[in-house]
Each structure stands twice: as structure tokens, then as C-alpha cells.
Symmetry: C2
Subunit: 548 residues, 2 copies
Amino acid sequence: MLPSRMMDFPLTITHLLERAREIHPKSEIVSRMPDKTLRRHTYADLERRAAKLANALTKLGVQRGDRVATLAWNHHRHLEAYFGIPAMGAVVHTLNLRLHPNELAYIANHGEDKVVIVDRSLLPLFAKFRDRISTLRHVIIIADDGPTPAGELDYEALLADARDEYEYPALAETEASMLCYTSGTTGNPKGVLYSHRSIILHALVGTMRDALSVGNDDIIMPVVPMFHASAWGLPYMAVTTGAKLVFPGSHLDPVSLLDLMAQERVTIAGGVPTIWIGILNELDKAPKRWDLSTVRTMVIGGAAAPPSMIDGFSKRHNLDVIHAWGMTEMNPLGTVARVRHHLAGKSEEERLAIRASQGYPVPFVEQRHVGADGKTLPWDGETMGELEVRGPWVAVSYFGDEGADRFTKDGWFKTGDVVTIDADGYMRITDRSKDVIKSGGEWISSVDLENALMSHPSVLEAAVFAGRDPKWDERPVAAIVLKEGESVTDGDLAAHLGTRFAKFWLPDAYVYMAQIPRTSTGKFLKSKLREEHGDVLVNGTKASSSKG
Amino acid sequence: MLPSRMMDFPLTITHLLERAREIHPKSEIVSRMPDKTLRRHTYADLERRAAKLANALTKLGVQRGDRVATLAWNHHRHLEAYFGIPAMGAVVHTLNLRLHPNELAYIANHGEDKVVIVDRSLLPLFAKFRDRISTLRHVIIIADDGPTPAGELDYEALLADARDEYEYPALAETEASMLCYTSGTTGNPKGVLYSHRSIILHALVGTMRDALSVGNDDIIMPVVPMFHASAWGLPYMAVTTGAKLVFPGSHLDPVSLLDLMAQERVTIAGGVPTIWIGILNELDKAPKRWDLSTVRTMVIGGAAAPPSMIDGFSKRHNLDVIHAWGMTEMNPLGTVARVRHHLAGKSEEERLAIRASQGYPVPFVEQRHVGADGKTLPWDGETMGELEVRGPWVAVSYFGDEGADRFTKDGWFKTGDVVTIDADGYMRITDRSKDVIKSGGEWISSVDLENALMSHPSVLEAAVFAGRDPKWDERPVAAIVLKEGESVTDGDLAAHLGTRFAKFWLPDAYVYMAQIPRTSTGKFLKSKLREEHGDVLVNGTKASSSKG
């Protein structure tokens, strides 16, 4: 091999911070405070205050590689932590304030957090696990909604005392910059340790016009929490381009968000479907209340976006929703569901189907899907297999090395999603791999069956899970919650499904219940269903079931 | 330091090639052939034919790190070389067909080219240096305008015989991918050896909306030659996004280019100012002849774009010209002259001045300018100094190590441009460092004086150069060519300049001549002027000068 003659210039967050000062000092950062007033800063402030934070943390004994945690909403100080902590060579560990205190205790200990920066409003939550963090040395309070409790360190007081210049160390781009935990329904949460390189490459690709299309003239509102997968990298994309940032703080109700979007003339906002469903409802109620003419893109990710919502925003409010898919393990952006130029001539319905898919991979993310036998499957839009990905911003292992079975020997990450991929590279999630029903070598999508069942007028909720079967290994079983006052027979439901699915996809049993068990985050807890009703096909009895 | 847990996934051209096959197989490549017909290929063809080229070259004995040269216009086969050669681990060396055969002989020998791929139409030029390439083993002819001469290898015949799959090696991203020579007015040409990493990062940043804004819906026409600094990376940006590519071949006259732009509905075109000046003239002559409504951006670089041209395109033809600056040593993109959001409220004149500047650095390019004493200068928009740059796609040394004085000890590349930088980071080239006049510690811009002199109604051309001065070291001397039938005095010209410049900027002598000596590429040859007239202030005589 012949070595090139180009500079060995690392891709680090430090460059972005220096760029904020040198190139984009006037760009704005707007934060909604606890009392709903707005506070305004500039990128020059960001750089100065990030340096002060780095000096303050150094004084508190934080060293290269140490984890400094945040337990905070989206605001300018969280942004300072996003930059100052990695630039000093430490690691910002974003704690998810939606988790149970037991999970948070586990995560903070597993991450060996030395310092935690906490919003004052979150102190009641923090109190529930603070004493259980064995590595904890300092707590710093962001006290916007009242006085800092006696004996605690105050964020602003620390910054006031600190120098506003910091001699940032020369970092390797592969050094850790940020730690995020992902919590599944089984096992302990697992840590994903981002590098400077992964954050920078993710931000560069994310700004591309075919991805999230972020430019200097944008006004970006990350509704997606900063404690969730680096807020999809939106803060880093903003600082790369000098875009204006608008942070909603803790005010995430639809009306507050719409007020902020209209007032600050937001052009890009990103959040999970539930946020956008709430916003669509408000807009439907009062279509002319807010001037959203500046909004160019609403990015939806974190869960599948219903086509009806994408269509509703587009048709009723002339707003463009972009569906994206990713995972904490991939920084998180993987695919974006844009209609490419060679597909622009398709019918409206087909284009909507493309926009509602998970999308095609952004540059440098590679995808494949494999069957139960481990073989790579064809991109025919029909064959289901587990999605595997690789790329410069995909995890190679978890921090602490749990979950090694999620990484293949030939260098791919097993996403746990069961998908189809079509000839144009568009990927569609049909199930989680633990929920897909493996029936005699064929895979049956529980999600597709659930969606169809829930379209029946008498059905309130449906969860389809794998029942054990002596002949086929697994067969679909449907758990059904009926709407009040409604009644159906198995035959009614089978007839309803029969018009859409092949016969071997139809459930072999229907179990009627008053409520489907759920996880703490509201997802169907199918492991419980399997535990209680998994033998319904073997025993022929429906333990604890009741027909509505 | 704490190592991250992200994949070590290299940034290579191989990924783009595989992406062309998997994700963007249907995207189009249009090439203008020697007979002016158009030939159409797809990205699937590109991937297949690049693999065939790699197989053919392997059979010819090309190994990892070997240089394979091209002497060719812009067309689909040159694109195949851009991808197939680096992906196989070899280095594509683009020979500049505008150079003198002596220079080409030097460059091909210095690069140790093993194989040369030549357009048949360029065989007369190639014949002038072919026998002087001591490392040459094979010549491959692209024969579109007639038969391949007997005894020569034919490009298409080689591909027809080759397998269309290639087992691409796992490359390090720092390996060499492309070799380009830069030829100044002094010394031998110098080789710049790009890496896979530098080409990929450059392409990712180049596609950003604030840079060249390249997306899947673009139709890109690189008028800038592929033998010049990777055609500004446009081919790589296109394949990253799946955009359509349109290659003009050897037909670079304004009417042919305009026909092609209109016919193929080009959205982005890139070229040097002379190309655009010719196009502007044609458009002015026949404003309605071509439908250019699809054109979104015309990128101008390689030399300063006159503000009048930027304004003319915008006002008379509603076409948006983007001025960019770069160098072969930086892959080449450094700065882009876009008006940022915080400057959008400026007057039209101020905005035009920003658009006519060299622009502000794209992400991960860092700039500074230093004075004669080596000290970094303030960004005040006035103080002149030599521009230095660094970043992941800036050369750390030349191939062969000539020109070591162009690289500073603290890791910056000395561009040789004398510039100002303003508080918003916009950089303006005021001179080449070898031409700036260093008068008693102050720097005087020869370019500014020349532009002012050439705006005098009697002056056809003016070149300002440094005259030796016993007291001030150097003082400006102006070489003047008058328009036919015109006459002026030194006092007329001094009065003309006096309204615009401080007194110490005014030339101490005017030398009138019939013609200003020029380089082979048409630039003023100031070294000759200094040689012949540099002592005019010391001797008090004007050797061989004549007042018009």
C-alpha cells in the first residue's frame, strides 16, 4: 500500500467548538425556561461557557475519559455539556429521565459517573437513586426554578468563578465522547459509547440534503430529548452549520411546542410520533392559529410513523414530514424515507408508502437482512429477515461488553428488527425479531396482523404473539381487547383477516382479555403473553381468558 | 483516554462503488461523445465496468499502490477510472492535458506511472512524451473517434474480456487514492497525493447545503476538467447521493455547454470563470434561446469571479452563481461564498461583495493568515497576510517531498495567497504572496492597484509589481498598456488612484509597454517584469520602456 500525503487531522467536537467561536459567533440559541420565558444566547456564549464548564469540571477533579452525567431537559446548558465535556476529553453521559430510579441507579453505576449535572426540577427523581451511585463525587445543580439547595454546587456559580478559556487537549478521533444507554424489555440496559469520529461523521451525513438537510439558514428545534441518542445529533448538526437552535425545555405539550415553533420561526423540528400526533390534533382543531409557514421539515423517528399522520400533515396543513429510522447503537441515524428522483413519477399512494417506510440507508451505513439460517436474503421487498447494519457510527460492542450476541463475527450489528428490503434499498420493519412468529420455516409478522386486527370496528387493541405448536414450532395467537359493548367470534376475526393475508398467516387461536400487559414505556409486553398463553395451542385450553 | 466502542469502518471509495450498485443502480450517467452524440449509462453500469477495469488492470500487472494515469476529457470512462482504480487499491493519476509535453513527461516520470489510459483524440499530445516515461508498461486507448491503432490495447476490448465482479481489498482510509500535480510559475510541478479519507470527507462536506448543496434530485455537469483536482470532487459527490451526472466530453464551447445544460435539465454545473464568462456572453446575445429553469447553482472556482459576472447572471438571467475557493493541495474545496442568515439583511451591494469574496471555510477546514514576521493576524477585514489552512483534506507534504517550505512546523499549509479575513470569517484574496509589495513593513496589494488602473478609460492592461527601493525595500511599479490611440501621464494615473488608495499605496513609477509578458496559461509573468524593470527606482531609468 501507498500512504497518502494528507494531514492527519482528527474529527473532533473540539473543532466544532472552535468553529462556533471563529466562524459562527453570532448564531443564536433560544431556551424555554421552567417559567416559560425565553432566554437567548449566541454561539460565542456557547464556546465561552463550554470553556468555563471545562475549567470548573477540571477543578472538581474530572480527568480525561471520566464520565460526567446529565439529568436534564433540552436547554442551552445541556448543549454546553454536549460540547465542553467531550472537548476536554471527558465523556458526557446523558441519563434518561423517563426511566425508573432502579434503572437509573444501575446505569449511573455501570457508567461509573463521577459528576452529575441535574436540573433542579429533577432533584426529586435524582434523590431516588443518588445515594446508590458509588462512584459519585460531585453534583451540580442547574437552578432555574428556585434556589440551589444549601450545600450543593450551583452550575452558574461554578461558571462565574471559572476562566473562559480552556487549553483543549489534542484528542484522537476514536476517543469516547458520549455515553448513552439503551434499555430493552429484557436484560439490563446497555451502554453505547460514541466516539468523536462517530458524532462528527454522523453530523456531516445528517446535514446532507438527502438526509435531514440542515443549513446555516435553519432554525432547529430538537423536541427529541437530549438524553436520547444525542437528540439525533441535531445539536451537532446545528453547530456544524451555524444554524439557530431552539430548545423547548420541559414544555413538551403540543400547544407550547406550536407556540414556540411559530414565534421563533422554526424550520426543522424533530421528535417521536406521539409528539407529532398531539401536534396534528391541535392543528386540526385550529388550523389557522399558528403560522408555520417557515417550517420546512418535521423529522419523525424513534418509532414507526403512521402513514395517515404523514398524509394528514401534508394534505391538511401543507407540512412535510420526513420519516427516519435509527437506533441508539448507531448514533442514531440509519435510514431516511425520502422519495428519490427515479421514483418521483410513482402514484401518490406509492409515494406515501415509500415515505412511510423506514427509508434507505444514508451514505456509509450498510444494511443487510438475514434469515433464521444466517444467510443473507434478497432485496425483493417481500422476504423477511433480521436487519443487520454496519458503518463508522455503528457500535462494535457495548460498554462493559454485555450483549455480545448482538454483534456478528463478520462485523455487523444485529438490530433485532425483522424487515424487508426492496430493490431500491428501502427498508421496512415488519416486526421485532423476538416477536416475529417462526412457523415451519416461514416468518409471520405480528405487527402486520395486529394492524389489521385493530382496523376491525369491534377491536380496541390486539397483540399477536407466538404460541408453541408441536408441528410448526410456532403459530400466531392473537390477544384481543374489545371495545366497550362489542362482541365478536373467532370466525369474524378470521374472516376479517382472510381478505388480506394468506391462510397460513391467520392466528390459530384468539384470546380475549380486558387489558394487554405493557412495559413501563407502554409497549405490549409479549413475553408476558407468551408466558401466560403460549401453550394455548398445546393444551387446547385458554388459561385465564374471557370472551368479551 | 477512553477508547470508544464504535466500528472501525474505513472511509473508502469502495463503499461508494458498492453503494452505486446496491442503493443507486438506476441513476444515470450521460456522456457527450467526440461526434457530439450522447451515450447513456447507469450507476449499475459504472459499478460493473469499474470491476471489469480493475480486473483488466490486475491482469496487466497493476498492484496495490501502483499509479495508473489518465489523459482524458470528462466522460463515463474517466469516471470508471475514478472509482475502479482506487477501489482496487491502486492510484489514479490524472494528467493535465493543457500542460506542455515537457511538463507532462516530468509529471508522468515523477509519478512513476505504470499504465496510461488515453483518449484517442489525445494521442498526438501523448506521442510527444510517451517515450520519455521510463516506468510505463502499458497504454490503453479509449477509441471513440476511430479505430484503436494496431498494437495498442483497446479500453473496450479489455473490459469485454474481463469479469464484472472484483474482490476489492480491505483498504485503510489513509491509503493513497488519487495523484494530482499542481504547476506553479516557478519550480517543477508538485504532486498532491489524496487519500480515500480525504476524498470521502471532502465529498460529504461538499454535498452540504451550505457548500455545493448536492442531492439525489440533482443533475450535475462538471465542466471543470476531471484532470484538475478531482473535478472539485463533483463526481464523488454525485455518486454519494445518486445524482445524475452529465459529462460534456471535449465540447467546452459555450453553445455546446448551454445546449447540454438545457437538454439534460442540469441543476448544478461547475467550472472556471472563463467558461462562465463565455456562457454569460451567449446568454446576453440570446436570452431566450435556452431553457435553464432547472439550473439551481453554477459553481465558480479556480480563479476569482468578477462581481459583474455574478451580478449579470443573477440580474439578467435569474441564475445563481456560487463562488468557491480551493487549491489542488486541498482536494480542492476550502471556502464557499454564501451569504449567511445573520447577513441576509445587508444591502444588495454588500451582499454582492460577500458573494464575490472567496467565502468562509467549510466545516473542518481551518484558516489563519500570518504577517511577514510569522505572527497570526486579526480578522478585521483589512490586515493582509499569507493564508494558511489545515484540515483532513489538506496536504501534509508533496509526493516526493519537494516544496517542504510550503508547510509550517505547527502543521499548516502555506497557500501562497495574500488575504484579508473579516470578523465573520469571510476571506478575500488580495494577491499572491510572491506578488504582494512589501513596502516598509506594510503590504500593498498589486491586484487592487491593477483593478483600479484597468478601470481608467485609457488603460487596456496594467500589472503592478515590486520595484526594489533602497529605503522601503519594495515600492509598487505599474506596467501599463494603453488602448490604441490613447495617451496619459503618470500624474493622470496617480490622480485616478489617489481617490481610492492611501498615498503610500500609489506606484512610484509607471512603465509603459506594448504588451505585458505572460505565462503559458495567460497570467501576468511578474517575475519577468521584476527582472527587466525591478531596478527602475534605483537606477532612475526605465530600460526598454516607451510612453504610448
